[in-house]
């Protein structure tokens, strides 16, 4: 993993405050937990039916019946609970999920998220992503600031089919921490080594800059 990505993940981990119930999307978000101290008071939820996720296990010590929604073999901790898929999403939709961290293809200045479908190229289904994006009390996105071709992922409007509208609160990228505000994107923090200009260049929508010194992560 690049140094910048690792710093982004470490920074995102600070988004998790004590006592939260948190769902980490597949990919980069699952790595966030590696940056929490052991014994941190947080309840990790996975939508296939577990609250209180314990450490990920290698195949040789895995339980064949115990995976997370990304298919990784996980474990329990004291106080874990198993439940069915209806109860699992009841928890999400009824406001008991304090925070979710998701990946993104595109995020709009209004907080719209597109992360599940590229017409004609990629449409495996939305899985649980729509409900996580639409109903978690706080939705943060972890993503590279631009796609593989260097094109901005933060846009005035999403061009891809939406996952949910007006859902994203904050975006962690390899370049910056950016909030979605009623006035659009607002820069909050810069990655170590990133300049304001590099962030402005890589962002496809207006970006409000803070007054004073910008914190670096």
């Amino acid at each position: 993993m690049s140094n910048a990505k690792a710093r982004m993940i470490a920074r995102a981990a600070r988004e998790i405050t004590p006592g939260m119930v948190v769902n980490l999307g597949i990919g980069l978000p699952t790595r966030v937990v590696d940056h929490l101290p052991a014994g941190y008071p947080v309840c990790l939820h996975t939508e296939n039916g577990l609250s209180g996720i314990g450490p990920t296990l290698p195949p040789e010590s895995a339980d064949r019946n115990l995976i997370d929604a990304g298919g990784a073999y996980v474990s329990t901790i004291p106080g874990s609970a198993f439940f069915d898929s209806a109860v699992s999403f009841a928890l999400v939709r009824s406001g008991r999920l304090d925070l979710t961290m998701l990946g993104a293809f595109e995020v709009s200045a209004a907080g719209d998220l597109a992360n599940w479908k590229i017409p004609g190229r990629f449409s495996p289904g939305a899985g649980g992503g729509i409900e996580l994006a639409q109903k978690a009390r706080r939705v943060v996105v972890l993503t590279t600031h631009t796609d593989r071709d260097g094109k901005p992922k933060l846009l005035c409007e999403c061009t891809l089919p939406l996952t949910a509208r007006h859902c994203v609160d904050r975006i962690f990228t390899d370049l910056a921490v950016i909030d979605v505000t009623p006035e659009g994107f607002a820069l909050r923090e810069l990655a170590d080594g990133a300049s304001i200009d590099s962030v402005l260049d890589a962002t496809g929508a207006p970006l409000a800059l803070p007054e004073g010194r910008i914190p670096v992560f």
Partner: protein
């Protein structure tokens, strides 16, 4: 990218608190779901504390009105209830009298429909369509829809400010189990309120309940109160 084998182990927060403190979070005018079907599963001790604290203008959602001098009858007798959403109050003459005198407003649901409305609230749904009660007084004022050529009624989801829950065992994080027919509405209501307060006959440390035997997962629960004694109200009713 490889999964992070051996990532640090988290700990689940402790939600135990004193009963006075938990019940003090209930405000005047609150909508309060109360578990139980008859005696089993009724949170008698939480109800007693709510009577002692005296919050007013409550809307109570409960399967039944208990019997006289038992359970939510104390709330009725104390004048704390203005509205009751229920399925059957035939065993409590006081509830019937208050209703007939217009001193409490009573909304009746078919029993399974009350259960589903509470569950829908807990599941974050807005409502559901059913043909139950179609040809009865209970259909009055409910919007009707045609679905695949059949008539259906819209039943709206119910959520509450508070749910009062009686559990058999709880761990400190709020994982619960229920025993026998004391389960009834408890696990449904434990999902359907903004503030879920549980009284537990037995309080266990984290790990005291196996993950497969949990009936209500801890993330739904806000406050866990350990019962200091099982008062006479919990006993077998002598008829």
């Amino acid at each position: 990218m490889q999964p992070g084998y051996g990532a640090p182990r988290m700990i689940l927060p402790d939600k135990t608190m004193a009963i006075e403190e938990a019940v003090a979070r209930i405000g005047n005018g609150a909508t309060v779901m109360v578990g139980g079907f008859g005696v089993p599963g009724t949170p008698f001790t939480l109800i007693r504390e709510l009577v002692r604290q005296g919050q007013k203008d409550l809307t109570v959602i409960k399967n039944d009105a208990n019997e006289k001098h038992l359970g939510i009858d104390h709330l009725l007798a104390n004048g704390q209830v203005t509205r009751l959403i229920t399925t059957h109050i035939g065993l409590n003459p006081r509830a019937i009298e208050l209703m007939n005198a217009g001193r409490i407003e009573v909304e009746f649901c078919a029993q399974g429909i009350l259960a589903e409305r509470v569950r829908a609230g807990g599941a974050g749904l807005k409502g559901f369509l059913t043909d139950i009660g179609m040809d009865t007084d209970l259909a009055r004022n409910k919007p009707a829809f045609e679905l695949n050529g059949e008539q259906a009624l819209l039943e709206t989801a119910l959520r509450a400010d508070v749910a009062l829950i009686h559990a058999n065992r709880a761990d400190v994080f709020g994982n619960l189990d229920f025993t026998a027919t004391a389960r009834n509405f408890n696990p449904l209501m434990a999902m359907a309120a903004d503030l879920v307060i549980v009284e537990a006959e037995t309080l266990l440390p984290l790990g005291g309940l196996r993950p497969d035997e949990v009936h209500t997962p801890g993330p739904f629960v806000d406050c866990v109160v350990q019962l200091q004694e099982l008062t006479a109200e919990y006993d077998v009713v002598q008829r």
